[in-house]
Symmetry: C2
Subunit: 480 residues, 2 copies
C-alpha cells in the first residue's frame, strides 16, 4: 500500500512532484493544507517490549502539543463569537440529569442568510478545546465566503469548556460522571444544537455540511450516516472509521508510519528500529536512567525507560501524521516534510555517534524545532485522566499492533484481555469493543463503502504522500 524504501534523492523528487500535483488540484491542496487534522497514535499499542508495557488506554491529541493560546495569538484572522447551548446530558434516557453548557463558535459574516439558503458549515468538534480545531481548520474559513456559508464549531462534550457537572474536576470524577462521554451523545448534541439554531434563525431550509478531521472526521462521517435529515454531506478527513475489531489488520497503522520513515531513508528506519534495544540496555545499566536523562536533556530524572519510549513513540507517530510538505504548527511548530528533516539529522551525525544520540538529534526536530527548550518534560498532561483515555476504554477500542519486520516500533501484539484489565484499573469500566461496529457498521468493507457512499468525502483517503492519507486509504481498502 505504500512505496518501498527508496533513496533520498528519489524521495526529494517525489516530494516535489507531489507539491506540483497539488498545484494542479487546488481544491485538494486546500484540503491538505488546511483541514488535515491528524489521526494521532495510541500509546498503548506502541508499548515497546514486554518490560516496557503499561496498560494505559490509547491517547490521541491531548499530549505534546503546541499551546493553544500561542496558536490563538498567531491566528487572529479567524473571527468568531463564543456561545453556549444547554444540552441534555443523556439524550437517550430520561434520567433526571443536570443539563450542561455546550460551547460553540459561530461566524455569520459571510452567511447568505435563510432567504438565499446560505449553507451552514459545521465542524464536528473532537477531543480537545474547540478553539484549537477552529484555528487549525483554515479550509472551512477559506471556503465559507465562497459559498456564503455560516461557520459553526460546536465543542465536543467533556472537552474544553463544554463540561457537565459544572467543572472539569466534577465531570472527570469517576466512571459514573464520565459515562455520558460517548460519540453517540456528541452526535446528538450536534443534531440538537443545529436543529435549534436553524429554527431560531428560520433557517430550516439551509443545508448543513459537516467537516471534521481524525476523530472529528469519524464524527462527521457517522453524523452523515445517522442524521441524513440534518446534514447533506460530510468532509471526513483522516477518519479511521474502520480501525475497530478485526476489520483492518492491527499492524496497519504502525506499518504505514514506519514506511514513512523507511521511504526517506532505510538507515534512518533501521536506526530507530534498533534504538529500542539500545534504550532498554542503557536503562538496565548502573546509573542508566541518569545517563538517559542526560542524553535526552530531560528536565527531571527519568523514572523508567518506558516513559522515554512512549515519548519517542508519540513523536514518530505524530510526525507521520503531520508530515506536510510545508511548515506547520498544528501539533508542534515544524518544518515542511519533517520526517525528512528528522532522518537527515539521524543519518547526518558524525561517524561514531551512538544510536541514542542520533535519536535525540532527530527527535529534537519534533519537540524543539524552534530551539527554545533547554530541557524536556516527558509528561505535560498533569490531569492524568483525559477524556480520550476514557473514550478508548469504553467504545473507541481500536486494536493496534506493531509487527516484527515491517514496523520500526517495538514488536507488540494487541491483547484485548490486558487492555480490558487496564481500563478496569484506570476507570472501573469495561470496554465494549464490538459496539462501534454494531452502531456505525464497518465489518463488511463493501457495505461500509456503500453506507458511507452518500455525500461523504474521505479527503485523505485519496492522497498518497502523507501518512494520514495513506493510512485512511489503507483502512478503507482503496488501492492507490
Amino acid at each position: 500500500m505504500s512505496s518501498p524504501a527508496a533513496p533520498a534523492s528519489h524521495n526529494s523528487q517525489q516530494c516535489l512532484k507531489m507539491a506540483a500535483r497539488s498545484l494542479l488540484f487546488p481544491i485538494i491542496i486546500i484540503i491538505i493544507t488546511s483541514t488535515t487534522i491528524i489521526f494521532t497514535p495510541p500509546t498503548l499499542a506502541s508499548q515497546p517490549l514486554n518490560h516496557l508495557s503499561s496498560k494505559r488506554a490509547p491517547r490521541f491529541l491531548s499530549k505534546h502539543s503546541y499551546p493553544i493560546k500561542t496558536q490563538l495569538e498567531e491566528q487572529q484572522q479567524y473571527r468568531y463569537e463564543s456561545k453556549y447551548f444547554y444540552q441534555q446530558l443523556d439524550h437517550f434516557s430520561f434520567l433526571n440529569l443536570p443539563k450542561f453548557p455546550q460551547r460553540y463558535l459561530i461566524n455569520t459574516d459571510h452567511w447568505a442568510g435563510p432567504e438565499r439558503r446560505g449553507p451552514i458549515f459545521l465542524y464536528c468538534g473532537n477531543e480537545g478545546d474547540i478553539e484549537w480545531f477552529a484555528v487549525n481548520t483554515g479550509f472551512v474559513w477559506e471556503i465559507a465566503p465562497l459559498f456564503g456559508a455560516m461557520v459553526l464549531f460546536p465543542e465536543h462534550r467533556y472537552y474544553g469548556e463544554s463540561l457537565p457537572y459544572g467543572s472539569r474536576e466534577e465531570a472527570y470524577k469517576n466512571a459514573s460522571t464520565l459515562s455520558y462521554l460517548t460519540a453517540e451523545q456528541a452526535l446528538a448534541d450536534f443534531a440538537v444544537l443545529i436543529t435549534d439554531l436553524k429554527r431560531n434563525l428560520s433557517a430550516q431550509a439551509c443545508p448543513v455540511v459537516l467537516f471534521g478531521g481524525s476523530y472529528g472526521g469519524m464524527l462527521a462521517a457517522w453524523m452523515r450516516l445517522k442524521y441524513p435529515h440534518v446534514a447533506i454531506g460530510a468532509l471526513a478527513s483522516s477518519a479511521p472509521i474502520l480501525q475497530f475489531e478485526d476489520i483492518v489488520p492491527p499492524e496497519t497503522f504502525y506499518n504505514i508510519v514506519s514506511n514513512d520513515f523507511k521511504r526517506e531513508s532505510t538507515s534512518c528506519f533501521n536506526t530507530i528500529k534498533e534504538s529500542w534495544d539500545a534504550l532498554v540496555s542503557e536503562g538496565l545499566k548502573k546509573n542508566g536512567l541518569v545517563q538517559l536523562t542526560k542524553t535526552f536533556h530531560l528536565c527531571r530524572e527519568l523514572k523508567s525507560t518506558e516513559d522515554l519510549a512512549n515519548w519517542l513513540d508519540s513523536a514518530y507517530s505524530y510526525l507521520a501524521m503531520v508530515d506536510y510538505p510545508y511548515p506547520s504548527s498544528f501539533m508542534m511548530p515544524l518544518p515542511g516534510c519533517p520526517i525528512r528533516e528528522v532522518c537527515k539529522r539521524i543519518d547526518g551525525c558524525p561517524d561514531g555517534t551512538s544510536i541514542l544520540e542520533r535519536i535525540f538529534e532527530g527527535i529534537s526536530i519534533y519537540y524543539n524545532y524552534t530551539g527554545e527548550l533547554h530541557c524536556f518534560e516527558l509528561d505535560d498532561d498533569p490531569h492524568g485522566l483525559d477524556g480520550w483515555n476514557w473514550q478508548a476504554c469504553t467504545e473507541m477500542v481500536m486494536p493496534m499492533s506493531s509487527s516484527h519486520n515491517a514496523s520500526m516500533f517495538p514488536t507488540y501484539d494487541f491483547n484485548y484481555s490486558s487492555y480490558q484489565e487496564g481500563c478496569w484499573e484506570e476507570f472501573g469500566v469495561i470496554p465494549r469493543p464490538r459496539w462501534i461496529t454494531t452502531e456505525f457498521g464497518g465489518q463488511d468493507i463493501k457495505t461500509a463503502l456503500e453506507t458511507f457512499g452518500s455525500n461523504i468525502i474521505f479527503s485523505n483517503g485519496l492522497l498518497d504522500p502523507w501518512s494520514g492519507g495513506r493510512y485512511a486509504a489503507a483502512i478503507y481498502g482503496l488501492q492507490l
Copy 2:
C-alpha cells in the same frame, strides 16, 4: 383523502370491490390480511368536552384487547422457540447498570442457512408481549418459506418478559427505572441482538429484512434509517412516523376515523357526534351515573362520564384501525367490515330508541361480538402504569386534536402545556416533544421521503379502504 358519505348499498359494493381488488394483488392482500398491525388511538387526544378532560398520556395497544392466551391457543400453526439475550440497559452511556434478558422468538425451519445466504426476517417488537405480535403477523410466517428465511421476533424492552431490574414491578417502579424505555434503546437492542446472532451462526452475509406495524412499523422504518449496515430494507405497516410536532395537522387522525363512519352512514356519524352531549346531560342528572351504568351494562357503577366516554372513544378508534373486510381477532373478535356492522346497529334501532341506547347497540359489536359478556369492565388495565404511557410522556409526543366539524368526537385542542403537566403528575418526567424529529427527521416531507426512500415500504400508505392505510397515506402526504 377519503370518500364522502355514501349509502350502505354503495358501500357494500365498495367492500366487495376491494376484496376483488385484493385477489388481483395477492401480495398486497397478504400484507393486508396478515401484517396490518393497527395504529391505535391515544386517549388523551380524544378527551371529550372540557369537563370530561383528563391529563392522561395517550395509550396505544394495551387496553381492551382480546386475551393473548386465547389467541395463542387459536394460532397453533406458528411454531417458534423462545430464547433470551442479555442486553445492556443503556447502550449510549457507560453507567454500571444491570443487564436484562431480552426475549426473542426464533424459527429456523425454513432457513436456507448461511452458505445460501438465507435471509433473516426480523419483526421489530412493539409495545406489548411479543407473542401477541407473532401470532398476529401471519404475513411474515407465510412468506418466510418462500424466501428460505429465518423468522425472528425480538421483544421490545420493558414489555412482555423483557423486563429490566428483574420484574415488572421493579422496572416500572419510577421515572429512574423507566428512563431506559426509549425507541433508540430498543433499536440498539435489535441491532446488538441480530449482530451477535449472525456472528454466532456465521451468518454475517445473510441479509436482514425488517417488519413492523404501528409503533413496530415506526421502529422498522427508523431502524433501516439508523442501521443501514444491519438491515437492507423494511416493511413498515401503518407507521405514523410523521405524527410529531406540527408535521401533520393534529386533526388528521380523528378526521380519518370519523370519515370511516361517515362513509358508512351519515346518520351513524351524526348519532355518534351527538352522543357526547347526551352522555354529559345524562351524567349530570340525578342518578344519571346509575342510569348510564344500566344503559351500557357496566359491571360496576360508573364513577364519571369521562370513563365511559374514553371507553367509547377507544372502541371507535380501534374499529377504524381494524376495519378489515374479513373477520379478524387482533384486538377483539370482529366481523368483516366491522364499522359497517356498528352503523347498521346504530341506524337500525326502532324509532324512538334513544341516542345512548343506539350507541350501546353499536359498541357491542366491538366489545361483545361473540355475545359472551353480560357486563363490561371499563378499565381492564390493573397496572395503571403501562409502558406506552411512559413512552408517550417522554419522546413519543404525538399531538392529536379533534376538530369541531369534521370529527365525530368531542372537540378537543391538543395543548402541550397541560400534556406536559399530566406527564409530570403521572411520572415525574418532562417530555421532549422535539426529540423524535431531531433524531429521526420528518419536518420536511420531501427530505423525510428521501430519507426513508431506500428500501422501505410503507405498506398501508398506498391502500385506501382501511383507516390504517388512509391514515398512513395522509400523514405521509400522499394523494390516493
